[in-house]
Symmetry: C2
DNA sequence: AGAGTTGATGTCAGTAACTGTCATAACCTG
DNA sequence: CAGGTTATGACAGTTACTGACATCAACTCT
């Protein structure tokens, strides 16, 4: 059963080469050009060579097309937290998590910048981004609890790390040169700890 | 000018006694009974004795009907931060802000509990709540900056305070007896500061 | 090779969230 | 009382989604 499924997944690129990727690229293009609200789901579908119905089979709603990588980031964050040394404090472990998550963006700075501009221009997209970040915090808190961190420390440390990630990411996107996001995260974490 | 506006506001209760309040109450009722998605805007309007169009003139969208007090909370939070003693640290000032904001809920525990249950049951409503909390953090950071706090400290302190508010509010809602939310905020703030 | 199965897609009809426009009635101001 | 403002109703239109059914290609099994 698992064999069949895997074979199918590997095959996916044959019948229609990367229809999903085409929709994502088309959406980014159109959102950047005309804006999110001025782009209909039908526009994206047409531009990607599929029907509107197919678009909604791939993405739960129009906004989701911009948040394709977020599951991966959640997974990586979780794994990094669980892999952190057991002596690490909850906050340190959570920061290691979001640093690993942020590492996924390192090679895609141009895409991240473009995407951020689109999201910043639309409150509905900001809402979805906030939901994804909240989901990341929930996952991080869960991982911390598995490491033995009690509540409310797990939630507080997880949420603090996500806050650091948000601020550091914004600074990284605003930069001219393409430093590693991890550097910004470390700086921002230091600033957070310095708060009294 | 301000006089005319105020006269109107005070008069509002005459022509149609509290149409807005009726819509809010009807929405809470229906959301709690059937759920958010199973309730149409038309249902709420009808139940409040107005047209669907009137509903959308009062609320930007179906979700907004649950977030009527959030502007007040933002304003109170801002004012408390600006009123905090100038010796107070950014984090202390921000915490004073959210404590004052949370004070608005003290006398409406039953309503807050009911509302929380509705929101918790629906991701779309959670998104909106997160947007409101993010707005609160932005306002708080703004107020801190007016007090002279530089970035990124203003944003970090503001966001930390909002995180404390979220956790404390969740605990306050889950409690059986109705303590002051300020007590929970203080406890949670202490836990945050104890993180290393 | 041929029949049945599975997975992605197209087609089409339907619901509900909004939005724009115009008309009306109550109120306020002068 | 005339004129402007404000809240509303009535109605038409767009778009985000959803469900049901048909198709078509690849894969499985025999």
């Amino acid at each position: 059963m698992s064999v069949t499924v895997n074979a199918r997944i590997l095959d996916m690129s044959r019948w229609e080469p990367d229809a999903r990727g085409r929709m994502i690229r088309a959406a980014m293009e159109l959102f950047a050009e005309r804006g999110f609200e001025q782009t209909t789901a039908g526009d994206i579908a047409e531009s990607a060579g599929v029907t509107e119905r197919t678009f909604f089979r791939h993405f739960a709603d129009k906004r989701e097309v911009l948040f394709d990588g977020s599951e991966d980031m959640r997974r990586v964050t979780r794994e990094a937290i669980l892999a952190a040394p057991s002596e690490a404090s909850p906050l340190d472990a959570a920061l290691a998590g979001v640093t690993a998550g942020g590492g996924l963006l390192k090679d895609r700075r141009a895409h991240a910048v473009r995407r951020s501009a689109i999201i910043e221009a639309n409150p509905a997209l900001q809402e979805r981004e906030l939901l994804k970040l909240a989901g990341m915090a929930v996952t991080a808190a869960e991982a911390l609890r598995e490491r033995g961190t009690p509540e409310p420390d797990a939630t507080l440390a997880a949420q603090s790390a996500v806050t650091v990630f948000q601020v550091a990411f914004a600074r990284w996107v605003a930069e001219d040169d393409a430093a590693d996001p991890a550097a910004r995260i470390a700086e921002t974490a230091a600033a957070l700890r310095a708060l009294r």
